[in-house]
Symmetry: C2
Subunit: 487 residues, 2 copies
């Protein structure tokens, strides 16, 4: 189904919202919880909670029914019991409401005849009244710029991401995670069972949305594999699409069927489809976030040659091994670079080369900036990867001040164009160290850099970046042999 | 070279230590830094800093030379410049000192003739005077029980681990990481270039050490591949040996050569050797820690059948997929279990099955304990994996109290034998969330449970556990076709 710009306005920039199924008291789920989040986020439109037993809910005037509303709301959010949903939609449609978010679960994902019948009735009612519906069994639309944020980070951050998901929880977590790193979301939508509008309808719309630069999708199934292939090839040329396919294994597929009623499809067909589509395939939340951040922030590098700047012999060995294993290059530096490195790096206890092992990089911003300038001139280097160490007792660094603000200020002044990414490891069970690491990651990320909590994740994300730009240039118009309609 | 119990006492439980090369002022490296850490850690033996220009160093009486010392120290720690090392060793040997930790770098790892010559002289001097030396270019011995902790977590934690490493930095980081999780170290040793005593000498000694239950090794090279194979087969039968092999790739090998003078050896030969040896192969710091923790804490499971207890449909799908992809089983539960689950799990918004998706597990300890008791009775389940969610705003949980203390108390009372492991994800750039996650991981870990910051890491560690116990029972006496002496 094609969503018009007006439809997208109604869903993601509504001027007024009716809430049907808002109880007077709270709870972690349900209409009341969502309603309270709109208020907390500072939604500036008009809210109409419908509840015949309440005068006010959270200080907002409540209405006994739709009939008395002073206007036709742009959007209706429905959280009544499943059996009541069709009649509520009819009542709303009669009021002239055409856009719905249906939170309620209890449809085809139940896997029984009653659930399936209720779903069919829901779809029939929507068709008969020509209304558009997100859901059922989902968290619906999210847009920080409109303070339309019923879930995830509150109030969230506007930014370049568009997220489409068959899992509310994954989307909540992702938007929270991204916001904590200063990485913003233009629009996100949790489509649940996708009975009326599905993930691909939003993929098509996000493809035409100039504010969305990178698209993340969590899919358990699609009704029309050919459409996914076609959309991804077209949209993926300009906007990287990062896909998690839930239900790759039999266990995951069994769970997906109970989750959103998804028929997860054969792993072999999905894998063939993803190869021919123009999508970046990831498998966990961490990989999803890492890829979204990398594609949003790291420009196409000229090659996959990485210069690794860090300290510690063993970690330099492991960092080099890890990058090469992931398919990146860690090239020998140019003679000019090596001349300079040998001049400024002590012979004993350090390693002048790539990786560079010299502890001074952790504390001396001017030294680090000199290395970055050197790398900018080195034709073997296209990506600069800087390891950061939190001042820590284990490394006899407890009194070392954190150079991060100075580092960011100096690097921001440089004229270079080669991307710089950062690794900040703060793993373990030490809350203070963990907090310091999170704050350091946030600082680099707020400054616009891609930052990772470990080398393996950095290398995997950079490898995906290189593969995407390599594959994009070779993307064929079509290929025989797969049957995506069977997805 | 075989280390006697007396030698191990001198290195890891010395009653007195001479420090040669301790300046009067500090610095992050060098003798002074190490000396200060012994004091900070509360080392109870006698310390003899040797410095002709100082009366006292950090409040400890300094001695102008070895001659005046009131006793023969058990151990000498040497941090003088490389060129002076041989004569200092001779002077110490004449005083009757036979055990040395040589911190100083600048030997064969320089990759030049002068460094190689100095190494040869060092080895000759040690042989001529029949002394045992750890180093050069290393952090030496570490033993929290003796407060012999010059690096890493201060004062550290005694525990079941034995760590042998060619990287001081990796060992510092690992001991810090483990200590933050309440996972203790019996002995650790950073052997650096291993010119006199090497990693395998300590492997043999750790194999005979009853206090060491699990061994971690970071190796860049070994002089005698056959010995590693033989030792690992013998020791690995009773004590899991977790190995990181640094320098697997050409880039890593090049770096390793500059780091410890290591000839890292062919990746193919190493891989063949590891397959035939009895070692668990990991590749990053995170995998190393995860495996050490898992082998130290999780008893041999009867099968690789995991019951995943969590909340969130999408994350249940991904958790199931991830475990299966890693080679674990996520079996259907028994009819008895399913009867019970269906009784206590709502039909809409939850999934009764394996994985179990029900948000109540995050807040209701009694419910969680009931699930664990159910799993204990279910023959399909051998490992219980419990996902924990930090109370977070994104999930409308900001007012939910943390049930961790209650959870631990209740689980500790149970009579079951099936291992329980935990996943606590707190990724991102939110310092408060990161600190909460680290504290929760520490709490479970302090209680003796294996705990992981993500499902992929948990699944990988559990898969390694299963493979080790499976492989151990099939370990052949010998196998033709590899030439480990060429390592």
């Amino acid at each position: 189904m094609r969503l018009s710009p007006e439809d997208m306005q109604k869903f993601f920039n509504p001027q007024s919202i009716a809430f049907i199924g808002v109880s007077r008291s709270g709870g972690r789920f349900g209409g009341m919880s969502f309603f309270s989040k709109y208020i907390e986020a500072g939604y500036a439109g008009r809210l109409y909670p419908i509840n015949p037993k309440a005068d006010r809910i959270l200080g907002i005037k409540a209405w006994p029914d739709l009939a008395g509303l002073p206007e036709k709301p742009d959007l209706a959010m429905i959280a009544v019991a499943a059996a009541q949903v069709p009649e509520v939609i009819v009542a709303c449609a009669r009021k002239g409401i055409h856009h719905f978010h249906l939170l309620t679960a209890g449809f085809d994902e139940l896997g029984n005849a009653a659930g399936e019948a209720l779903k069919q009735r829901l779809v029939s009612v929507c068709r008969a009244h020509n209304v558009l519906l997100i859901g059922p069994n989902c968290m619906g639309p999210y847009r920080p710029a409109a303070r339309l944020t019923a879930w995830g980070a509150i109030p969230g951050r506007p930014g370049p991401l568009g997220i489409i998901s068959q899992s509310g929880g994954m989307t909540q977590r992702l938007t929270e995670y991204a916001a904590s790193l200063g990485l913003g979301v233009e629009k996100a939508v949790s489509v649940g069972n996708g009975s009326v509008l599905d993930a691909l309808d939003f993929l098509e719309a996000f493809g035409q949305d100039p504010a969305i630069k990178v698209i993340g999708m969590y899919l358990e199934s699609v009704a029309d594999g050919r459409r996914l292939l076609d959309l991804s090839r077209r949209i993926g040329q300009d906007k990287p699409i990062i896909l998690i396919k839930g239900g790759e294994t039999e266990v995951g597929a069994r769970t997906a069927a109970s989750h959103t009623g998804a028929m997860a499809g054969s792993r072999a067909i999905w894998e063939a489809m993803i190869r021919q589509a123009n999508m970046i395939h990831v498998r966990t939340m961490d990989e999803w976030l890492d890829a979204l951040m990398t594609f949003a922030r790291v420009a196409q590098p000229a090659s996959d040659g990485v210069f690794i700047i860090g300290g510690g012999g063993g970690s330099s060995v492991i960092y080099g091994d890890t990058c090469v294993r992931e398919g990146l290059q860690v090239p020998a530096l140019s003679p000019q670079s090596m001349d300079e490195l040998l001049r400024i790096t002590p012979a004993a206890g350090s390693i002048a080369g790539n990786p560079l092992d010299h502890w001074q990089v952790f504390s001396d911003t001017a030294y680090l900036a000199r290395l970055v300038d050197m790398a900018e001139q080195d034709p073997a280097v296209s990506i600069i990867l800087v390891d950061r160490l939190i001042a820590r007792n284990a490394f006899h660094m407890q009194d070392t001040p954190d150079p991060t603000p100075e580092t960011i200020a100096l690097l921001k002044q440089r004229k270079g164009v080669k991307p710089i990414v950062f690794v900040v490891d703060s793993e373990g069970g030490d809350p203070e160290l963990a907090a310091q690491g999170a704050a350091m990651r946030a600082a680099f990320s707020e400054a616009g850099y891609a930052v990772f909590p470990g080398i393996a994740r950095a290398a995997a994300a950079l490898r995906r970046l290189g593969r995407y730009y390599g594959k994009r240039s070779r993307m064929p118009a079509s290929q025989p042999g797969i049957h995506p309609e069977r997805l």
